[in-house]
Subunit: 198 residues, 2 copies
DNA sequence: ATCGTTTCCGGACAGGTTGTCCATTAACGT
DNA sequence: ACGTTAATGGACAACCTGTCCGGAAACGAT
């Protein structure tokens, strides 16, 4: 009643084939047949699982997001200050484990929907954090939490992408988390060793 | 000897048709024939100008980037502190004028190349600014200028996208420039009215 | 206004990809 | 072992692509 072993195998194979091939040739260049061939699955079978290429990518992204959510769940409750330290670190570790998939998503491969799903989800979470802060804080925020969240996500995605794309050995996740926290707290002027005048 | 009036007309028509149609239906759903039909140009003519759809989008993006560069050129020389105030404002005004094209690019439409062209160009410029600062500054930067630049671009693109996608009347470019400057200088903790503890 | 050149047109072409169908075979869970 | 469910392979029309061509039209320069 749970789930047929065959469907599990097929879906996994399609997922892996997709990620591998996008890394090799880029999403746009891929044919459904390329994917099924690599996955060692009949082309007709593909269509009994997904509407099309985009649909496959979307499903894979959804799975990833759900898995990430399950990891963040327990951590979000503990730290009331929001997305500091532990949750951020969990994200980075997850990205390291699923490196290729993260790379492919952050590059904006596909119709752009996967990246949009990822960022929108992130914006929702982070905006909630900023709003939460605003509540239990005396001062009103200087900038709309929604905008702040988009800024946060934009910066973090860009840096994460740089981190994941690096050829050489990567900086440890802990180091990157420190770096990002520093940026959030003090801004880029501070980070560049520059004294703001204005 | 300059350029044939016909080619100018054709290229412009193709460019406008592309932008309009991507806004309406999204890049992926477009056919070369859709574009030529909207542009009122024969399909064969399209191929005497561009290799394919992606090529057209790439060319359009190149033009935009060049135009932007020409506007930034004179300003970059004046302000030695780098990308503060005027150049940022010029960027925002340019984005406002070419709103739809900017939107389409920032959404990551196409094969993602246009967005990559845009961000890579931006990273180059901004990284140069951070390096320049590092030189004529006593303290060494706390974070690699390259990373700092990617963070800058990620944040700014995200906020710009939010700004350009807004349905209602937008905040004036001057206001947004202030906001972004504040983020660069003081970080998001400051912006959220939150006192960094660590 | 004419003339040589360049671009545009429109129609046709083969090749590849898509998404759907179906009858048959194989694997599954119980 | 049995009934059910999924995978297979092959065939199908529809569509889109990129390329080619001869003829018509627009161009810039004289």
């Amino acid at each position: 009643m749970a789930e047929d072993r065959r469907t599990r195998r097929t879906r996994r194979a399609l997922r892996d084939a997709l990620v591998a091939l996008v890394m090799e040739r880029g999403y746009a260049a891929l044919t459904v047949e390329d994917i099924t061939e690599r996955a060692d699955v009949a082309r007709a079978t593909f269509y009994s699982h997904c509407r099309d290429k985009d649909d496959l990518f979307t499903r894979v992204t959804t799975e990833l997001l759900q898995e990430l959510g399950e990891r963040l769940q327990p951590l979000a409750d503990k730290s009331d200050t929001g997305f500091t330290g532990e949750p951020l670190l969990a994200l980075l570790h997850h990205a390291e484990e699923e490196r290729d998939l993260y790379r492919v998503i952050l590059r904006g491969e596909g119709d752009g929907k996967p990246l949009r799903m990822f960022t929108e989800e992130a914006v929702r979470r982070i905006a909630a954090v900023f709003r939460h802060r605003a509540e239990q804080n005396h001062r009103a925020p200087r900038i709309d939490p929604e905008v702040l969240a988009r800024a946060w996500v934009g910066e973090h995605c860009a840096v994460m992408q740089w981190w994941l794309e690096g050829e050489a050995e990567r900086m440890p996740a802990e180091g990157l988390a420190e770096l990002l926290l520093g940026l959030s707290k003090h801004g880029r002027y501070w980070a560049s060793g520059f004294d703001p005048v204005g």
